[in-house]
Symmetry: C2
Subunit: 335 residues, 2 copies
Amino acid sequence: MRITIKDIAKKAGVSPAAVSKALNGQPDIGEATREKILRISRELGYTPNIIARNLVMKGNKTLGVLIPDISTPIYPVIFQGINERAGKYGYTLLLADTGRDLGNERKFISTMMENRVAGLMVSPVSNDVSHIEEAVRNQIPIIYFGGKVNDGMEDYVGVDNYHGALLAVSHLTGLGHRRIVMICDDLNTKTRFDRVEGYRKGMEEKGLAPDVFVDDEGLKGRECGMAAMTRILRGRREIPSAVFALNDLMAIGAMEALDGAGLRVPGDVSVVGYDDIPFASLPMIGLTTVWQPKFQIGETALEQLHQRLKGDGGRGNHKTILQPELRIRTTTGPV
Amino acid sequence: MRITIKDIAKKAGVSPAAVSKALNGQPDIGEATREKILRISRELGYTPNIIARNLVMKGNKTLGVLIPDISTPIYPVIFQGINERAGKYGYTLLLADTGRDLGNERKFISTMMENRVAGLMVSPVSNDVSHIEEAVRNQIPIIYFGGKVNDGMEDYVGVDNYHGALLAVSHLTGLGHRRIVMICDDLNTKTRFDRVEGYRKGMEEKGLAPDVFVDDEGLKGRECGMAAMTRILRGRREIPSAVFALNDLMAIGAMEALDGAGLRVPGDVSVVGYDDIPFASLPMIGLTTVWQPKFQIGETALEQLHQRLKGDGGRGNHKTILQPELRIRTTTGPV
DNA sequence: AAAAATAACTTAAACGTTTTAGTAAATTCT
DNA sequence: AGAATTTACTAAAACGTTTAAGTTATTTTT
């Protein structure tokens, strides 16, 4: 049995209230008794039961974090951002990986609510978060982040995908490229949509015709990039001089296809990705890509939640949009 | 204010005890009242307060997980193994990233104890876990895992590094290699030591002279691999025909150095890594390496903790050693 | 020296549950 | 019909804390 305040009280010959006060450094307790209590508590190896304390004090310092797939390279870093700030403010984190499964998301949200987290930070599985809102019922603050955020949400921290794509395309046009194709898996999230729009804008600014190739056969990542690139290479009269991929994995896939077709990167065609996942920076790959402020996303999300928790706790309707940065490496060059 | 059993009781005109029974499907409650209570509880959007329940029932279903750095590619997958099994058994996970900092490790261990987790799974920052044992005082079960486990620990799940290295070296000798050098950053963990021993054994079995190059100038990962390889290329009369690196990042570094020296992989020298981090399998890299059963480490750790929690909860002194597998790709070839 | 103030405690209620023991009413038994 | 049993509840204690209010004994004030 773990030892409690009562055990200390008994051993010290005082009341539990006295122990509580001594332990919390409150005033009305004598120096001698205080020291005695502290000594005994140390001897017995007492650890305060925070959850019992929270019960009476109301309010606790646990936050829930929901992530669709922690092994997707962006999330560990976001979590570290959250974790760091959480440590700073004394929060403890309940983390669950939903595995991109809506049922799991539902289940974990309930678990978190039952565990009386003070607030939630969720990177939702799907664009539709109505079941989350319903379960939470505005009882605690919630912040959304990640790839499935959209303008309809009340509070989220996101990244300016439009601007990120614009950066990528401007880089390419600046190098003299005119036939730039964008490859994409599907278009069913706002994140993807914004990147496409940014690309369109970047092209139109230079008077170039946008050319978006969507491969929505259900493939993802490398395989999708490879399939898309292969089909582009086969189907067109002129091959593009540059490719802008929806994400780094697709960019890698495209590079594989180019390699397979005997084309050199960036000699024959330049490639730009999006995300800056860890291996993008490996010298063997050297992918030019759009970096996301991952750590900062986590920090900001926690910071906002913290502010709301300190304040009224209501919906803040705070949408924070962070800015991505272009990382120029070796897969892009002059046309 | 979140609504409680009392609120439901008041609205239904019954006692809190009746509500509790109805909600938990206990027998001695009338059908009519049960339905009324259930209806009202649904209407009010009641969510049980699990932590209040745990207080009276004793024992809870929260486990603590401590990880040194969640952005190190192996950990997300381990966490998913833990997470999956946790969901299955109804555990909730408190996760903290210690950032490889001993002070943080201490702090988070206390936090977890104060939050009355039922058990702990920790991948320690250092080989010495005495401060953890001291804080935990055998009050709850604990399982160690990760890179800093050693035989002195009472309960851990680890990987057979000795055998993993043996696999790597046998592969190389099987291809006809005789001058195989192992490169290593330092030798201060059992994990590293075991890999070196496995390498030694593999060499000696074939009557070859082991050749371990330790670069302990404080460099890590790619930089260390590059530095080590560069020095080997400069300092020896005969260059080795194969390199076995302590880990994948060092292998990548070594490949960079080889490339810089105009040597082809695997034409001139074969390279084997260890860990099988995600990009090892990219076709551009195609690193032959030793894979670790990451997901299974997580699963096993949770499974063992669960068994102990169901049982006596005492030290199990269970050491589970999982087996690694060789992943042969394109950086190795016949001499 | 009596009254007032202060120091150092203790008592008891509260937080949101569960559960044991108790109770009144309805039903079954003989 | 009266006793015994069952049904459907309620009362109260418990879990480990905190805290407002109460109680002594001691010190200070006048």
